[in-house]
């Protein structure tokens, strides 16, 4: 059942540009994949580490800005990408050192503040970031000499990165280090009495999360070929957090489902409904009420419940 579902999803994703009906939708699919990578990165902290960050758009934006800035300054694409990821990792380390002095609401507030500082730099340090006007990226990179100019080509490149992200997450979650991180989420004191270095485990988790957030930022920079302070706003941080929570934090598929839901609402529903934010809000309320654990685990629970009801109709009649 499970390998079959995986194969089916793989085929659907690989053939998507041929059946989805136009470059507009292919681009939306690319956006969903980019945000899914971002949400998967945040999920490392929120879902497995129990550390809720509201500053991740700052890390996303750091990668995007660094890449665009370096290319504009004359660096090659590979050097720019490497530099962007390196800078994002440094920034993640700084986030970790400052924010890991606390957990819970304290961690959230410190990450929020740090995210706002980065947004402030993007918006106000005009000589460096060009302020509100943003920075244009002259062209998408050409990995292995392949042009990513067309929507389908870019989609496939994003799909490769997305698959890598999912694979690495699956591996991480099942690994001893993943178990260590989940342990620090559930019983930090106990973990330290058992011999674990709780701080270092969390620090490395922030770096891992920051790495994939940076990759997502880089992809977004290539997708839009334009970066602006809007990428780093608090509402971006909140949006990706909503993706993780609405889809199901601490699950592999949850953040992907959440990203699909939010991006689809933002792009597709907004074409038909002017107040699409209202609809999205109503959907979130419905998710919180009907399946507080998130869309993916909630649907699994409802599915099992439905199967059980169908499986034992006699009992229902007898009563």
């Amino acid at each position: 059942m499970k390998p079959a579902a995986l194969a089916l999803a793989g085929v659907a994703l690989l053939t998507l540009p041929y059946w989805i009906g136009g470059p507009y939708y292919v681009n939306i699919a690319s956006q969903i994949l980019i945000w899914a990578v971002f949400a998967l990165g945040l999920n490392v902290l929120v879902g497995y580490g129990g550390l809720v960050s509201l500053g991740h758009a700052g890390l996303f934006g750091t990668a995007a800005y660094a890449a665009a800035w370096l290319v504009a300054a004359g660096a090659g694409q590979l050097a720019a990408a490497t530099g962007a990821i390196g800078l994002t990792l440094l920034m993640s380390a700084l986030f970790a050192v400052l924010a890991l002095r606390a957990t819970g609401i304290g961690f959230l507030m410190i990450t929020l503040a740090l995210g706002q500082i980065l947004w402030g730099i993007a918006y106000r340090w005009i000589s460096l970031t060009n302020g509100d006007n943003g920075i244009n990226l002259s062209a998408r990179p050409m990995p292995l000499g392949l042009s990513l100019a067309s929507p389908a080509a870019f989609y496939f490149a994003t799909l490769v990165i997305f698959a890598l992200a999912v694979g690495m997450m699956a591996c991480f979650v099942a690994s001893p280090f993943g178990a260590s991180l989940r342990g620090t989420r559930d019983q930090p004191r106990r973990m330290s009495a058992l011999g674990y270095d709780v701080w270092l485990i969390r620090f490395l988790a922030v770096l891992f999360s920051g790495f994939w957030t940076g990759i997502a930022g880089l992809l977004f920079c290539y997708y839009d070929q334009f970066v602006s302070p809007h990428l780093l706003t608090l509402s971006s941080s909140a949006e990706v957090l909503l993706m993780v929570i609405s889809g199901g934090s601490g699950t592999l598929l949850g953040p992907i489902a959440g990203a699909a839901l939010v991006v689809a609402m933002k792009t597709i529903a907004s074409a038909y409904i002017e107040r699409w934010n209202l609809v999205l809000g109503a959907i979130f309320v419905a998710i919180i009420v009907l399946m507080p654990e998130g869309l993916v685990p909630g649907s699994r629970r409802l599915w099992r419940w439905a199967l059980q009801r169908r499986g034992t109709p006699a009992e229902g009649v007898a009563r």
């Binding site: 591996c171 991480f172 099942a174 690994s175 001893p176 280090f177 993943g178 178990a179 260590s180 989940r182 342990g183 559930d186 019983q187 004191r189 106990r190 973990m191 330290s192 009495a193 058992l194 011999g195 674990y196 270095d197 709780v198 891992f208």
Partner: protein, 245 residues
Amino acid sequence: MIALEARALSKSFGGLRVSADVSLAVEAGERRLIIGPNGAGKTTLFNLITGELRPDSGSVHLLGRDITSVPSRRRAHLGLARTYQIITLFPRDTLLHNVMLALLGLSPLRWNPVVELASCSALRQRALDALARVGLEGSADQPLAETTYGERRRVEIAMALAQRPAVLLLDEPFAGLSIPERQQVLNLLLAIPRDTTIVMIEHDMDVALEFAERITLLHFGAVIVEGTRRDVVDDPRTREVYLGA
């Protein structure tokens, strides 16, 4: 040889002195019982020994080494393990996973992000052995949340034993157990080989007296009486502060 020693440990929370100049020395292989009324500072003493609390003054020595400034996590690597009065386990995971986490804590494997934990067969086998020692090998794959209180107490002990500690601190291992369960846990503790030194806090005198060789009585954070089982039980001060006779 002295396995565990506390020298003049003091700790105050605000104006409340919870440990007042506590000194005690536990011989290697000894079974030591710590008793005292509620609020006598027994668990605080454990927290000072494991490093979860820093003493205001005094020092802690493990196997002859001063560990006062060693962080809690390093003390585990030096051979110190504990159980908690309030059960502190991982409820979403299986019994096996709980014990594997205890083993992983002392293994460099815990930093590995690429192998699959479930396929670490040596670790898994050691965890199953530890569960077998407490009679829970049959429920290894059961989620902890679906087990009884008594079973969780035994998982706590299995996790501590799995780490093969030189010194094991047991904080009320019989609390909340039924009489048959108490006997079961007692047999389990009696079977621990003598290369592990055990210090136990316990209120249930019937079971604990059977186990202990030496007893330390704490009252208002200070050591009031210490000696062999007979000495302490017969001491009039014990009757006064603890046995309530």
